[in-house]
Symmetry: none
Subunit: 192 residues, 4 copies
């Protein structure tokens, strides 16, 4: 495989690691080249620019994750089943590819405003699952955006906890716990 696909893979892996370790803006082409064992110019054989690399990594994996979420939720009909599958997929992803997961969390806030609200978006996936459940009366009625944010928060904030060492790994051991919390939160309501 002397066609450069190895180099490309090395660039991607190294970039993800450096982005997560020191931040995206803080990672220079020089850093990346040195860590990946390539020349600085070589990056430009594979990506038009540093920004292109970041966008490429984000878009590809963000969409792929959204797609996986779609697959797993579709395998269930009830909301409890869907949410359990989604939580499990989140945790599995985090445990299996922590660096990639962290990269997506990191870039998300810088990039999200630019991301279309289509179904290639994990947030949108989750949103649709929740909207359906609300229609069916499986969970309390409240703004869908709020309900979606709640579930997202119950997933992402524990993920940060693992990253910072405030929660013990692996993430997957908390699947049932988090699922239960999501259901309880979404079924709760502020009156009575």
């Amino acid at each position: 495989m002397r066609d450069g696909s190895n180099t490309r893979r090395k660039i991607q892996e190294t970039a993800l690691r450096l982005f997560v370790e020191q931040g995206v803006s803080e990672t220079t082409v020089r850093d990346l080249a040195k860590a990946a064992g390539i020349a600085e110019g070589t990056l430009y054989r594979h990506y038009a620019s540093m920004n292109d690399l970041v966008q490429g990594l984000f878009t590809t994996h963000y969409a792929a994750f959204a797609h996986r979420l779609d697959i797993v939720q579709a395998a269930h009909t009830g909301f409890a089943g869907k949410i359990d599958a989604i939580v499990a997929e989140f945790c599995r992803f985090f445990d299996a590819e922590t660096v990639l997961f962290r990269f997506l969390m990191l870039v998300q806030h810088q990039t999200l405003p630019n991301i279309a609200n289509d179904t290639n978006n994990p947030v949108e996936q989750l949103s649709q699952v929740i909207a359906l459940a609300m229609d069916r009366g499986e969970i309390s009625r409240r703004p869908v955006g709020l309900a979606t944010a709640m579930v997202l928060g119950l997933l992402l904030q524990p993920a940060f906890g693992l990253v910072y060492g405030r929660i013990a790994p692996p993430f997957s051991q908390y699947v049932n716990d988090i699922t239960a919390a999501c259901l309880a939160a979404l079924r709760s309501s502020d009156n009575a």
Copy 2:
């Protein structure tokens, strides 16, 4: 303007706004100087470096917020009251000083690892309130870090939702809703 406090205040306000609008790393000294109506060199009379400005803003306001949380939670004895007060304080802060709140959210992940786990830390404040409640049997037993992350997620992710326009302002209208979700989540347990 014979003392520099007006200039200093102007720098701080402008910096917070630019940091939130375009990102911390993306904000240059030139941007800041132009927007604040000062010379570039003037910044360095008030802060040793751009990084010093960021750290200074973060540390000051992060600690002040932690202190406010401590005040409001201490006014209640039961967990429900404490968590309601905390949620209300979060939302009030967001609504009253959105830019500052967003800045703290933004910088948090770059800075948090360096922050000591003392009580000047909002996360630590919340953690202690939760630990106490768990001891008293007011909520389910689970790792404190996880429970803390859950509440934090139920607060911060909706805040992002407001920022991105997926949830309608003001934040304060959701206080009861979020409080109820926190209580439900923390009282839930994975077996049943």
Copy 3:
């Protein structure tokens, strides 16, 4: 004495010390103001510029030293007496005002090309004493510039040795030794 002459003296003393400790170009107005306990702007009440301060200090003391050398050499008629008096004056000056002496050595190389070859110049003083002695046949015949440089070297290089701790102070204990070396060197000739 609230007329500012105290301030002026403080500026001069502090400047000399800082110039010697860290170099002239390396000493900033801020350094000077802080070390002298004055405001940055105050310097400009006494000197038109930083450069003016340097030139002023140099010119004044360089000329004063030249004048002292003139006085002491004029008190003797023979070359041996004159050179002994000159060496003694150098050493006395070094011991009594080391910082000032070092400042003159330091700035000399940057400033000398601009200095007129008049009698306000220690080097010129020495040169005239040597030229006279050569005319009188008291010392060997060689280019006056070379002979002057020799004596100067026998004085200044030991002074550096004291500054760098390679020679034990005080300088004055070596007066006879250095005088003897000067006479021997000047009386030597290359053929024999």
Copy 4:
């Protein structure tokens, strides 16, 4: 020019010239880049900083000169022969590479305190030659630091004289004269 050694050489040559012409602190990166015909950024591919360039140039050539002195003095057994060889080497160096020689004289006082007293140091080389001669009784007994400074002064101060046009070039024509002066000075003593 596919390796950067030509560029590096150009930087070094130009830097030495500018440092000598206008002073080290007074030479800016812009000056250097323009005079060397390179971009400002190019400097930093070869040296970490302007200061690194200065240190690098000094250390390299200072040590090389010390090494040459060691070679030439070792070829002689008696002190007269050694000192003659050293003086000749100094003068040859000055005449052949005046700019480099002047640079070493210039930077010496800023850098010397940081320089280790090992044999890569011309001053230390000279010092050892003198210490040996004193042990053997070839010259008068006096502090070695003082004797070393005397010889150094008899060499360096005439060098300055050439630089300032007070002594006619070439330096090498004065080898015998200076050697004789060194011997006379070192054999002199203050009593008798």
